[in-house]
Subunit: 258 residues, 2 copies
Amino acid sequence: MMDGSFPPPPKARSREALTREAFEARLRAIGAARYHDRHPFHARLHGGRCSPDEVRAWVINRWFYQSRIPMKDAAFMSRVEDPALRREWRSRIENHDGSDGAPGGIARWLTLARAVGLDPDYVASGQGVLPATRFAVEAYVRFVRDMPLLDAVASSLTEMFAPKIHADRIEGLLRHYPFADETSLSYFRTRLSEAPKDVAFGLAWVLDHADTAEKQDAAAAALTFKTDVLWSQLDALWGAYVEGRVPPGAWTPGEGLA
Amino acid sequence: MMDGSFPPPPKARSREALTREAFEARLRAIGAARYHDRHPFHARLHGGRCSPDEVRAWVINRWFYQSRIPMKDAAFMSRVEDPALRREWRSRIENHDGSDGAPGGIARWLTLARAVGLDPDYVASGQGVLPATRFAVEAYVRFVRDMPLLDAVASSLTEMFAPKIHADRIEGLLRHYPFADETSLSYFRTRLSEAPKDVAFGLAWVLDHADTAEKQDAAAAALTFKTDVLWSQLDALWGAYVEGRVPPGAWTPGEGLA
């Protein structure tokens, strides 16, 4: 179609849905192939090869992702009619924002920010976040706001793959970086206990609701999209702070120090 | 704010708006500092140092941007009540999509795709586009759909800086690449005559409507946002195809050839 117009879609052949077990395996295979634990930045970070400024750049940019998670979850709940599902989902927001007195994941992330020498108010301001990080994270929030609930829940299932990376990270950071201790890494330690509950619920919900081949494809596509959201954040970090091509307006070493 | 909550906003001091001339100079300074003609990928491309596969990767990813421009313009027109403004804006869609018989910018881009050895249907399918490119381009379409009309028009003003980069590109590609001729480069040649009309209108509209310091700040922020949209696409291209860190699922050399 030299004018860029689209060819007619191929006739959809009706297919059998995969069994629950086979579909779960399909979702796990997406993580095995595409989850960001395979990105070279994580090998560098966990292996102790990141400079202090590379760690700071990671903390600043990953903060933006953390800070948008409760907004993503609120966008999801804003579309859920079932009080039971909203009630179940609510704990995700509580985990990140905290409850009166008790700090949440965002506060724990800012504790990490302070431990690596950053001013927590600078990090919380979102200044200096890489544009590519913003675009990816905002694409995720909008995906959850705009897409069918099944796709939205499926996009959260990268949590299935998170406990391993968090455990590796705690071990690697403790071994290699002076800033790392149980206080500065409390975000990851806490996620180790929080994530499995969310995963168990989200995975069961997706396996229950993806009851046709078409819905299974949509859920797999949503999880794939989410792996792109995570991967592209590390690509941007690598280009800007490992390769040293910091885009105009992004954080530069020396800014935002405590 | 160690819990990540925001400090109260500073008292807004009411400021004088800049004069028309001073405000136009402020907008042009944003281009001088941040437009993607300053990105190393363009020096590489125009200087003849891109491999055929680097050129193909650029054509595939830049196609995605081109393909979303008429959708962006339709999103803008969908919010404009003034028939005169919609009528003025309509030519942007016609320029890209063409009119019966006459090819538009998207068809001309696919002519370039074929000239560099790609299957135009592969390029038009959007397969293999870098996720970071999708996130940036979709952020632009949504910005125009969601933000005030002034911000939306201001975000189009990167066109002010395009004629120079198109002229440099035509000259550089013709000098350095065997695929380059007046047919394969017709997209850029045509933009040289189309863009100035759009720029003259868009710039005058923004200068007319940004009549307070706050609106001038918003217009400047919108133009800055747009420079980020363009820059981050080249960063992603560089990381994937110059540095060779192709993210999962993105185009790999050899795919999509004619």
